[in-house]
């Protein structure tokens, strides 16, 4: 069985990063109408049962769902029960953690430092890249670790919207579940070992990074 999890659990992390950072910055630094609603919507997948989120995604991405139908018409591609649905489930489930961490991290950067950077001649882009992002980096990396962990362990939403199709939509989590159901314990343990190795490497690298920045 080909296990595409490694590639596909990184993908939502990377794809979510820019959107989550932008959203986190917006929530931390700007007031706008409907902000409370956006905050609630972003946090919703954290509170809802993953299977319920998966059902919502299925209704959205399925052939008869608004998004699934539009993509099928425009690009001739299915979303539900493809690797794209895996990515969508992982993104939706992990995004809130990244947004919340990024928001807290941005809030902790003193606006005074950004203001002083401006008086020293820096434009907004330079302030963001040289002051805001580096000072928020620890919180962002911590959020990335959480989001990665959430994506790696995602099961409920994935199984509903993408199923567990060998070689196509199987993830580490659904793969282990599938092997155990079939009584193939050896294969399940191989995936378990892979899970431990990936999780260990990710957390260890994150800790190293955070320690280095703390020093």
């Amino acid at each position: 069985m080909r296990i595409p999890t490694r590639r596909r659990s990184w993908t939502p992390g990377i794809a979510s990063l820019a959107a989550a950072l932008a959203l986190g910055w917006l929530l931390a630094r700007r007031a706008f109408p409907g902000k409370a609603l956006v905050e609630t919507l972003v946090a919703l997948p954290l509170v809802m049962p993953p299977v319920a989120t998966g059902l919502l995604l299925l209704k959205l991405l399925g052939r008869r769902g608004p998004l699934g139908r539009a993509v099928l018409t425009l690009f001739g591609t299915d979303l539900a029960f493809t690797w794209r649905a895996v990515v969508a489930a992982m993104m939706v489930m992990s995004l809130p953690l990244l947004v919340r961490s990024a928001r807290v991290a941005f809030e902790e950067v003193s606006p005074r430092l950004e203001a002083i950077a401006r008086t020293l001649g820096a434009g907004e882009a330079r302030v963001l890249v040289t002051v805001t992002l580096p000072l928020a980096m620890r919180g962002i990396v911590a959020g990335l670790l959480l989001a990665f962990a959430r994506a790696l362990g995602e099961f409920g939403a994935t199984i509903l919207v993408a199923g567990n199709i060998p070689g196509r939509t199987t993830t580490l989590a659904t793969g282990i579940y599938g092997y155990v159901q079939l009584g193939q314990d050896a294969s399940a343990f191989r995936l378990l070992a892979a899970s431990v190795a990936i999780a260990f490497l990710a957390v260890f690298a994150g800790e190293l990074f955070l320690r280095r920045r703390r020093a």
């Binding site: 003193s110 005074r112 430092l113 203001a115 002083i116 950077a117 401006r118 008086t119 020293l120 001649g121 820096a122 434009g123 040289t130 002051v131 580096p134 000072l135």
Partner: protein
């Protein structure tokens, strides 16, 4: 006159900042009690606060004109602002903090490092510096932004007496070497007497008095105490 504040008004809690004044080419002290509006006025000049009325003009260049909705953003104002709070970038070394301000020539950079005796501090991070060292680095960084005016907000506050004397000596050297018009916020008459050419006394957001430091202040008889010999 290098800086002109023409009927500048800004609502603050619990009063309205209302200033009509000009500052010359030397050091002009903004003197007043805490909460008199001194820092807010500096922030108006730095562009960090926008006046609701009036004009701010620096060397003939209009920086704010509330009537016309004109507001030059801080990055284009060419002001060297040194706030009271610690605003060195904590993730950058002293050298990188100084390099953040662009526009100064290598010669000016070397001169600022020399005048403020920052050479040995260059590789260090702000967290490892003393209070006095931080003030000197912040001052140098502001100087390196090639400012047309320096805005110094109580640069000696929070320093003990020996450090205060050292930083004061450095401020004097900066004044002699760089000759940049300066707005100097203080609530200590001795600092104003030591550094300023002119004083604006602020009370509840308005200029209550103005004049040379020697005309504004007189020596008060104060009881002084010291430890008895044993």
């Amino acid at each position: 006159m290098s800086l002109t504040l023409e009927a500048v008004r800004l609502a603050l809690e619990p009063f309205v900042l209302s200033v009509d004044a000009a500052a010359g080419t030397g050091v002009t002290a903004l003197f007043g009690a805490s909460g008199a509006g001194k820092t807010s006025l500096l922030e108006v000049v730095a562009g960090l606060r926008r006046p609701e009325e009036g004009r701010v003009v620096l060397n003939g260049r209009v920086l704010d004109d509330a009537g016309r909705g004109l507001h030059v953003p801080p990055r284009l104002r060419r002001v060297g602002y040194v706030p009271q709070d610690d605003t060195l970038f904590p993730h950058l070394s002293v050298a990188a903090n100084l390099a953040y301000a662009r526009g100064a020539s290598a010669r000016d950079r070397a001169r600022a490092v020399d005048v403020l005796e920052l050479g040995p501090l260059l590789p260090r991070r702000p967290a490892s510096l003393s209070g006095g060292e931080r003030r000197r680095v912040a001052l140098a960084r502001a100087l390196l932004a090639s400012p047309e005016i320096l805005l110094l907000d109580e640069p000696l506050t929070g320093l003990d007496a020996p450090l205060k004397a050292r930083v004061l000596a450095h401020l004097r050297r900066v004044r002699e070497e760089f000759a940049i018009p300066t707005l100097y916020v203080s609530h200590a008459p001795e600092e104003v007497l030591a550094l300023a050419d002119d004083v604006l006394v602020l009370e509840r957001g308005a200029v209550a008095r103005r004049g040379a430091p020697a005309d504004v202040f007189e020596l008060a008889a104060e009881p002084a105490y010291r430890l008895r010999s044993v």
